[in-house]
Structure formats: structure tokens, C-alpha cells
Amino acid sequence: MTLEMQAGAETQQRSFVNDFTLMVATKNGSGSQTSNLVLIRSLFRMGIPVSGKNLFPSNIKGLPTWYSIRASKDGYIGRRPTAEVVVAFNELTAAEDILNLPPGGMLIIPADWKWGKTRDDVTWHEVPIKAILTQEKIEPDFRERITNMIYVGVCCYLFDISLEIAYLALLDQFNGKKKPADMNFGVIKRAYEWATENLAKDTRFRFEQLNQTEGKILIDGNTAGALGSLFGGVTVAAWYPITPSTSVIDGVLDHKSIRNDPETGESTVAVVQAEDELAAVGMIIGAGWAGARSMTATSGPGISLMAEFVGLAYFAEIPCVIWDITRMGPSTGLPTRTSQGDLLFIHFLSHGDTRQVVLLPGSVAECFEFGWRAFEEAERLQMPIFVMSDLDLGMNLWLSEPFAYPEQPINRGKTLDKLSLEEFFAEHGEWYRYKDYDGDGVGYRTIPGIDHPRAAYFTRGTGHTEKATYSERGDDWVKNLSRIERKINDARATLPQPIIDHDPAKKIGIISYGSNDASIVEARDLLAAENLHTNYLRVRSLPLAQSVIDFVLSHDSVYVAENNFDGQMAQLLRMEIPQDNRHMKSLSLGDTLPMTADWLYSKIVEQEKQHAR
């Protein structure tokens, strides 16, 4: 479904109050991010559910960038394909931006360009940038960056955002600093006044105070993951910068002071920028081996470089946490566009028979939760744990309930210290690193530095016995692999389980994961309005839980919706479901942008229509 906005009738009928999308087109590096965030924070302060999506180029300055701000009285926070209002502040893209406006929409464009009205079916507002700016005494150095505050002032007037709210939002944005807030506010006020005198309001598009954001927060997934990691006890983070994961470690750096030792003020978190991703993962493996809670954050190209090391950690059974903030790949071109294309790659990463554990957060709250939980799982299962987020979830702002404090205390898993090692010897008369004493496939580990003559063991990848001695015997290795298989299979039931909304009366099931959640929630409402009632299962970890397979088998038709081109989750399901699963369809996107409810709705309607025939 595309938004049906036929000139006249439809736009007259539909109410846009607190329910439209504003698209701002600017140049990268022009300071527009601040302006956009002021608008978002203003709506948030007005109690209106809001979300922001930044579509930015791989560039520091100059290339086009678009930012869409969606207000939704119904609380939908996924991406929409259409924006009813466009702020065209980039001359290079203006022609296309104007073309993309739906009939009945609204355009805000600098008058200075003398563009000339090219469409009669949209409201056309020309704003004299230079004239407004010259009224305000702005130092030349700031002039370019502050230009974008003009559209903030114009939008405040047009859509009924009070100047008081805008000022508070500015203070939010500048961490309470009055000086920059005042300078920017001067421009907003001038533009507001100019608009009051010169523009006619189109009252279809406006914001009204609501109370739906009370107690909520606005945060991006990468910061949420960083906070979760800090509450999960991360002690070593090693990384190499790569978009879109960099802000995970930036989040750790920004907030690690909450972990300072209260007595000495010294840090309990070591953060090291490595020379590459090979070194980053090597460091966290060394650290995990020696008893740290260690993490790295990267994206697909970095994962590629980590492949060998991750296999070593898998077979040597060393805990560590790897965040993969996925993007399109490889190489240059689309590093700033979202994708879920690493799913199969990380699940099976490395040589030998590996099956990695992957956590799949579907919201910023889950980024926080999996931030701390990943360390619990890593030490419980003694292996690397991947957390796969994506650019959309990681770098965009999302509305959320405040995060819940971890419900269980930190558990270091089967890690023996001096005392427990002595007790272990007393009970078993022996201790062997890779022996399965409990039948769950997980051995007991020691860390270096335990003052005990029998605490040490020799760590290597393949070719070890359960006593951690060297062996080239096939039966030793098969025994080891069988134990690891037991461990991984048990994890299916103990890792974060799928979130399932299942009414046996409904015959259509949707399976998805990760950042698609917001759009799936919305698509289900659209489908329900068309009398297509759906169940929904959101996968939250790999290897797959049994309930995912049961879900597939208990529906007449199942749609696996995901944001990669090949339909990787669908492939995995086909691998794991021996029964006839021809009723399961892959709906895969992979078009570099976040999934929209409209896309999923139209895909399912199309399929169901074929079905009905």
C-alpha cells in the first residue's frame, strides 16, 4: 500500500493532527541534525509519540542527507515511505524531494533559490533565508550551521509548536547550556515571527498536546546497548571504528564513569582502540580467557576479519561478547544503509563445525537488556555471544519505556576460584577443563592467577582432550564436538525465547526479528483492518527455539519477514524444519532502508489474494 492521498477528497478526510511525517532534506555536515533533534524533542515534550530516521551518506560534509520525523498519535514508530511535509533545504535534491511529495502535501523551500512553483497540488511555502538571518546578528562562523534553525522556527509556527517548548528542546539538545541555546533560539524566533506575518497555516497539519510520552525516553539502540553492557559488568572493550557500530563504544566511553570505583575514582572499564578488528577480537578473547567481561562492537566487514579468532574462542570455549550492528556490505558504497544481511554469516561464523549463539534485540529496551544478558550467556555457555542489531535500531532515536534494571545478579557461570577449585577437587578428586561433569556440555573453567598448583590448563583450538591435553585422535575430537553440540542444543531452550502472540483461531503467522518489529506491529493493524488476522512470533536468539518450529507448523500460511535480500531466516527455518513447509513464504526486503508497515502489508495482501484464488 502506498499512502493514498488523492488530491482533494482523501486529504480532506484524513486527519493529520499528530499523525504525519516531516522529511527534512539538507546537506551532510550542515548542522541539520541539531535542528531535527530540536523538532523531535519538541514533539516528545508535547507528549506526542515520535520517531526519527536519519538517512545519511557515507561522507563528512556536502552530500545529501534526509531526516524523517514521524509523529504518530497511535504510537507507531516504524518508518513510513511517504512524508506529507517536506523541508527542501538542499538545492541538489530539491527537484526529487518536491516530486516525492504526495498530492495535498506541503513544501517548505528557501525563497533565495527563486525555484518557482513547480507543483500546484501541494502547499508551497518559500522562506527568505538570507533576509531572516541578517536580522539576527550571527557571527560568520556560525551562519551556515544556524541556517537550519530557520525551518525549525517556520515549522513551530505552521504546526503549532510553542516557542517555549522549542526553547526547552534546545536546552535539552545543548545539555542545558544557555549560550548556544539562546543563539539558536534567536533564529528560531525570527523565523517564527516572519512566518506569522507571511504564511497562512494549513490547519490539517498540526500538533496538539498529548500525554503519551510521559515517563518515556528517547534513545538510540547503540547507546542502549552500551548502557546495558555497563550494567552487565563489562571490564574490557576493544574495538575498531566502523559505521554503524562506532556509537556502541562511544556510548561506553560517554557513560563509563558510572562504573568508576567510588573509593578511588579509578575506572573499572578498560577501553582500547585496536589497530583493526582482528586485534579487537583477539584482545577481548584474551581478556575473556583471563577473567574479564569483554566486548567489541563492529559491523559486517569487521565480522569477516574476526572469523578465525571467533572459531578459536568457540572451540577453546572462551566467553566474550560481539555486537554486530549490521549494514549493507561489503566495502564502500552503502555503509550508512541498514540491512539484516549478516544473520547466517554470524550464526555459522568460522571454520570447522561452528554454530554461534546470536541474540536479536528488537527494540532499544532489548538492546539494553541483551547488553547485560550477553555477558551472562557468554559466561554461562563459555563461548562468544553475538548481539545482532542494525543501523536502523542502532543509530536512530526510538521512543521507549525506561529500561528495567537487570532482574538477576551477575553470575560468572562455572568459573572456579581458589576455594571452589579446592572444593571441586574434594568432591570429584579431579578437575579437567573440558569434562562434562553436569551433563549440560559446559565444563568448569579457571582463570589465570589463581594461587593453586593445579589451576592451570593449556588452551588451544582443535586437538584437545577433555583434560585439555594435546591430542590428534579422532575419537577425542568427536567426543569434544558432541559435548559442544549438547551445549548448543540445550541453549535453544535457555536463551531469550521468542515473543509469541498466538491465537489458534488465526491461520496466518508472521515470523520476524530485530528492528522490523515496529513496522510489523503496525502492519498487523493494517492487515486486521482488512480482515486478515495474524499471529506473530519474534525470534530473539539463535540457535532457534523449538517454539519457532512449532509456530511454523501450526499455521496455514507463514510469512518470514526480514530485511535482507536472500531471506536468510527463512533459509535457516527450512534447514531446521524437516516437515513440509511449503506454506512458509519468505518476504525479504534488503533495499537498504528500514522495513515499512506498508511494504509488509502489501506483500501479505498480495500473497493472501493468490491464496484465496
Binding site: 559488568g233 570505583d261 579487537a280 578473547i285 580467557w289 569483554s294 551477575i410 589465570p448 589451576a455 594435546y470
Partner: protein
């Protein structure tokens, strides 16, 4: 206390590892034996030592010494990052790393230089034989120009000098030795263990199977005939063994002797030999390596030493309690703290 028992009450036997599986006569085994000697002599507490290696013949050797220490045989050339992580987790550990010329000079050259640049506190031993052993006789990056091996013929590329690479990367302790020179190895190993920061020991260690022809610069016959020590040494330790007054050293003539005090208060006294090399001067250190290259000399000894600069651990301003020992609220801030944070995002 019997003479063969150290201050921890341990005999040399206790410091051994598993039997070596390297070729009989391999230079690497001599080095392992010297590590055992020195660890025993200085009374190294094995529970606090970690052994690290990459991949290759040399990297197998941590299995053959200090059997009661944790050890990590990691991946090819990437041991430095594992060592870095382990030392971040627990700065109280003593790290002894063993690598080879393939592991360090080729695939691992980047990590080697970045480890040194970060000054991760550890002893980094390169068992340098100028050839790949496990894959049967290929040239390495330290193979000498003009070196010949049976299957691959003539090496026409210049060799990398891993001591020079260490100095240019900011290493504060750089030594070269020869696995046939037991006495010098022992002294340099002790000094390296006393150093705070990355201490590099590039030990020429002949491969008896693939690179031991008399005309090879890294063979036993060549080493025995051509090794020129830069200095004679006395190592006067305090950190690990008894007080210094128990040790007597012969006085060197004035002007010939240099005393270099180590981080732990021990010191190494060097008597300059023919080359008159002062290891405290970076230019001289680079010059003596360049001279060795040009004149095809096999010079061994302490090439370069400087006052320890801050280690990676120092630069991170982390708590002195090893991070791996932290518990409870040191790892997880309070619920009130989370509430406060959440308000800042509201």
C-alpha cells in the same frame, strides 16, 4: 634449604612442561630450557604466569615449560592481541610470550608493532630461525638475502630486522641472542622479566631440519663461529631473589661498564666489548643494527634499553585491582543510578 631448591621451595623439575615434540637438537628446546632455568632461579610463582603463543614450531614450546602456568596457544600472528587482552584483564600477571619469525615477522608484524607501541608489559621472545618449519621449509621475512633452502631455492628479498622494528615502534627493551649462547640468554631473560613494559628478545634459534647449513646465517655452525657479543653482563636481581649483597661481581674497568637499573630495582651491568655499544642511546642502537646488516655481523646482546615509559595499563587509569577480580557493585551500578540515567534520556 638444599641448593637445588628455590625460594618457593621448588626444584627445577617443577618448572618443566610436557616433553618436547620438536626435532631433536632444535634451538627452540634450548630456549625452553633456559626459561625453565631462569624461572626456577628467580623463583617465579607459576600460578601467576601466563604463557602465550601464536602458531608455528616456536609457538608449540609453551607446552614444554612451566607446566603449572595457564597457557594459550592462539592463532597465527595474533598472539599480541590475546596477550594485550589478558593483561588488561589482570595486570598482576607475568606474561611470557613465544613467537617465531613467521608468526611475528609476516602475518603478525602489525600486531607485533602495535603491541610494542602500546607497551603491554610482557616478555616477547622470538625464536628466529629464518625459515618456516611446520609447513616444511619456506622462507620467512627474516630469511637472509641470498639464503638458499632445498626446495624453494634462493631468497632474493631483504630480511626484516625484528629488533629494528621493535625500536622504531617504541620498544624500551630490545635484545638479540643466540640459542647456542646459554649464559647470555639467561641474563637477558632475567633482565627482561624485571622490565616494566614490552621486552623483546629476538633469539636466533637454528632449525636443524630446514636451515642449518654452515653458510646459513641462522645455523649453529655459523652462530658458533660468528657470534659477537656486544657486552659481558652481570645481572644483579632484587625483585625475585635474595638481597643484592649476596652477589659478588668482578669490577669492570672504569668507562667500560654501564649499570642499567631495572623497574624492580635490580640492575644489569654491562661491560662494553669491541663495538663499544651503549644500549641507552637509540641512535646507537639503530646504528649497531645497521652496521650488523651492512657488514653481515652476528651481534648479540642488549641492543636498546630506555627508562620504562607508561604501559598500556598506566594509560587507561583503571583500578589497580585486576579487572578480572572485580565483583558485585564494582561491576554493576545501582538501580538508583539507572533511574538517574533514564531521566537524562527523558
Amino acid at each position: 634449604m638444599p641448593a637445588d631448591v628455590n625460594k618457593l621451595g621448588l626444584k627445577r623439575e617443577a618448572y618443566k612442561g610436557s616433553p618436547s615434540t620438536l626435532c631433536p637438537g632444535c634451538g627452540h628446546d634450548s630456549i625452553s630450557n633456559k626459561i625453565i632455568d631462569v624461572a626456577h632461579e628467580v623463583g617465579l610463582p607459576m600460578y601467576n604466569v601466563i604463557k602465550l603463543s601464536g602458531i608455528g614450531c616456536s609457538s608449540k614450546t609453551p607446552a614444554y615449560f612451566l607446566g603449572s602456568s595457564h597457557s594459550f596457544n592462539s592463532v597465527h600472528g595474533r598472539m599480541p592481541s590475546v596477550a594485550t587482552g589478558a593483561m588488561l584483564a589482570n595486570q598482576d600477571l607475568v606474561a611470557i610470550a613465544v613467537s617465531g619469525d613467521g608468526d611475528t615477522g609476516s602475518i603478525g608484524l602489525g600486531q607485533y608493532k602495535h603491541l610494542i607501541r602500546r607497551n603491554v608489559p610482557m616478555v616477547y621472545i622470538i625464536e628466529n630461525n629464518g625459515v618456516y618449519g611446520l609447513t616444511k621449509g619456506q622462507f620467512s621475512a627474516t630469511s637472509d638475502e641470498g639464503q638458499k633452502v632445498k626446495y624453494y631455492g634462493l631468497n632474493e628479498l631483504p630480511s626484516l630486522d625484528l629488533c629494528m622494528e621493535a625500536i622504531t615502534a617504541g620498544c624500551t627493551f630490545v635484545a638479540r641472542s643466540f640459542s647456542g649462547d646459554a649464559e647470555q640468554m639467561r641474563t637477558l631473560l632475567k633482565a627482561a622479566l624485571s622490565h616494566r613494559g614490552t621486552a623483546v628478545l629476538d633469539i636466533v634459534s637454528p632449525c636443524v631440519t630446514f636451515n642449518n647449513a654452515a653458510d646459513s646465517n641462522k645455523s649453529y655452525p655459523y652462530g658458533k663461529a660468528n657470534e659477537q657479543r656486544l657486552h659481558d653482563y652481570d645481572f644483579i636481581p632484587v625483585g625475585y631473589v635474595q638481597g643484592r649483597d649476596e652477589i659478588t661481581v668482578d669490577p669492570y674497568a672504569d668507562g667500560e661498564a654501564i649499570s642499567v637499573e631495572m623497574h624492580d630495582g635490580s640492575f644489569i651491568r654491562l661491560k662494553k666489548l669491541d663495538h663499544g655499544h651503549d644500549p641507552r642511546k637509540r641512535n646507537e642502537a639503530l646504528n649497531v643494527l645497521e652496521q650488523a646488516r651492512v657488514e653481515n655481523l652476528f651481534l648479540t646482546g642488549l641492543i636498546y634499553y630506555e627508562e620504562p615509559r607508561p604501559t598500556l595499563i598506566d594509560t587507561l587509569h583503571i583500578t589497580p585491582t585486576p579487572l578480572s577480580h572485580l565483583q558485585g557493585d564494582k561491576l554493576r551500578p545501582s538501580a538508583a543510578k539507572l533511574d538517574e540515567l533514564m531521566k537524562s534520556f527523558a
